[in-house]
């Protein structure tokens, strides 16, 4: 058993490394900016969904308000940069830490709530934050922030001539989120989280600190999502409250993990790789005619996958079920 187990862990790590290496080489052959853009978004969603998965998939606390942390990351970075000239790298760390702290502060009262009451509390809190930012003039209110372009530089994390630096950063981010999950999966935290998800009362009787398990998951999850948010702000160089903090975005972030396989190591990445290109392609090829056909295709796909594969796409690879095995 032990041998099987450690060899499976090693295999996961090797597969991830190979996939990351292949991904890193792709831009050498694919020069099309449109395609590169899709790849960057795919990697970003993989990272975000992987982070969401830590709190909601592993620890079982379904958050439908993670856009809050994404928005906090984006706004912290953008505001620090624009108002005080703080390099985005610091903004990224600051945004991550602020988000983690806020996630814990909110977790304190919210983790007492069960199921749907918790999920709705997460929506409502994100929605309050959204409304506040929309009315906060200093932060650009509903119009958002146009991040001033000050030329290509790694220090300022701005690149106008090529999208490649963004691509590689997104790749690193996706890898970090994956690796953190991989690492925590076989740790006390990973086991505590899954125990808390499956049965908190039994977990407690086995010495699991249920409350702090949730707090830990919330902090890690929020930190990583906020880093994603900061990245996004730099990448698109324009943010507005609705697009980074809206309810829809919270659901979109959860979607790859849910369709790929919630609470599994590979689910979020797999879900993102299939879902995001599909979204973007339907949007530009069918959506171009306006008229919502892209939404119809996209929505039908969500219905079909969630009905046909409740364990997610990873269950197609029957011998490998990520964390579920």
């Amino acid at each position: 058993m032990d041998k099987d187990f450690s060899s499976r862990r090693r295999r996961d790590l090797i597969i991830a490394a190979v996939l990351a290496a292949i991904a890193a080489l792709v831009p050498l052959f694919v020069k099309d900016v449109y395609v590169q853009n899709i790849m960057i978004l795919t990697l970003m969603y993989a990272a975000l969904s992987q982070s969401w998965n830590i709190l909601s998939g592993y620890c079982g606390q379904i958050s439908l308000g993670h856009a809050l942390y994404f928005g906090l990351g984006a706004y912290t970075t953008a505001l620090l940069f624009m108002k005080f000239g703080v390099p985005p790298w610091f903004g990224m760390i600051a945004g991550g830490l602020i988000s983690a702290a806020i996630a814990m502060a909110l977790g304190y009262p919210c983790f007492r709530l069960g199921g749907h009451y918790f999920a709705i509390a997460t929506i409502v809190i994100a929605e309050i934050a959204l409304l506040l930012i929309q009315n906060w003039d200093w932060a650009g209110a509903a119009l958002g922030i146009d991040i001033p372009v000050r030329g290509d530089s790694w220090l300022k994390f701005q690149f106008t001539r090529s999208k490649l630096p963004y691509f590689y950063f997104a790749l690193v981010l996706a890898c970090v989120a994956w690796f953190v999950t991989w690492w925590l999966e076989d740790s006390k935290w990973g086991f505590w989280w899954r125990a808390v998800k499956d049965n908190p009362q039994a977990a407690e009787s086995l010495g699991v600190d249920v409350f702090n398990s949730k707090m830990g998951a919330a902090a890690v999850s929020a930190f990583l999502v906020a880093v994603g948010g900061s990245f996004y702000a730099q990448f698109v160089s324009y943010i507005d409250p609705e697009s980074v903090m809206g309810f829809q975005f919270s659901l979109l972030m959860a979607l790859p993990a849910v369709l790929g396989g919630i609470g599994t190591l590979w689910g979020p990445a797999l879900g993102a790789v299939i879902l995001i290109p599909l979204t973007e392609l339907t949007r530009s090829y069918i959506g171009g005619s306006g008229r919502g056909v892209d939404l119809i295709v996209y929505g039908s796909l969500i219905i079909l996958i969630s009905l046909a594969l409740p364990r997610g796409l990873v269950s197609l690879f029957s011998s490998r079920k990520g964390a579920a095995r």
Binding site: M1, D2, A195, Q201, A202, E204, S205, L206, G207, V208
Partner: protein, 243 residues
């Protein structure tokens, strides 16, 4: 030598309902004690008070020389109280061995050691062959066994068993009884709640009978089963008693 577990004048009220009234029991080190009584006698409530699910309305609970009355369940587990649940609460999406690892993490911080400990316990409880199976795929008797294995992995001084033998086939019950003996032989004190007397009487060193929230009789199993008070409590002849 002090008892391992002691409840001193424990009361539990739920609104107007008195589930436990002035219950004082003790469990000595190395004993197998049976806590029995008819339905609604307050066994489960007392069990939950001891496990730390909720604090008693009044009275105190002492474990291993320490007042644990208000200590949460997770901390009691660290002190050495392990428990099972009457309605099994397996971690359904986790494998059998992963279920047990959760328990083993109480005393082993290094994953590799926790994993080894878990396999050891699975061997001990006869579940080794099922280690890689999802808990949701176990048959009911195996799930009961997993409950015991998980609790044992926490290396408890006191193991609380909540109706682990109820509802099993005679063969399964026999294997269960053998397992409880084995646990005691490993130096672990056992307090077991059972509804059906026949199953536990041959197994326990001492039986405590609860009725209407109070300790009715306490003593050697052979004496207890013959006690007219116990017989009438089980037959439901309450009028003779409560007078």
């Amino acid at each position: 030598m002090t008892a391992l577990l002691e409840t001193r004048g424990v009361w539990q009220r739920f609104g107007g309902l008195v589930a436990n009234s002035d219950v004082s029991i003790s469990v000595g080190r190395g004993e197998i004690v049976g806590l029995i009584g008819p339905n609604g006698a307050g066994k489960s409530t007392l069990f939950n008070l001891i496990a730390g699910v909720l604090p008693p309305t009044q009275g105190s609970i002492w474990f291993d020389g320490e007042d644990v009355t208000r200590m949460p369940a997770a901390e009691r587990c660290q002190r050495g109280v392990g428990r099972t649940f009457q309605v099994v609460k397996s971690f359904e999406t986790m494998t059998v061995v992963d279920n047990v690892i959760v328990g083993a993490l109480v005393r082993n911080t290094v994953m590799r050691e926790a994993r080894r400990k878990a396999h050891e316990v699975l061997e001990f409880t006869g579940l080794a062959a099922r280690a890689g199976v999802l808990a949701s795929d176990l048959v009911p008797a195996e799930k009961r066994r997993l409950e015991v294995a998980r609790a044992l992995a926490t290396e408890p001084k006191l193991l609380l068993l909540d109706e682990v033998l109820t509802g099993l086939t005679p063969t399964e019950a026999q294997t269960g009884v053998a397992l409880v003996r084995k646990v005691r032989d490993a130096g672990i004190t056992v307090l077991m709640v059972e509804h059906v007397m026949e199953i536990v009487m041959p197994l326990v060193d001492r039986a405590i009978v609860l009725d209407l929230g109070k300790v009715l009789v306490e003593g050697k199993p052979a004496d207890v089963v013959r006690d007219p008070k116990v017989i009438s409590a089980y037959l439901g002849d309450r009028h003779a008693q409560s007078a």
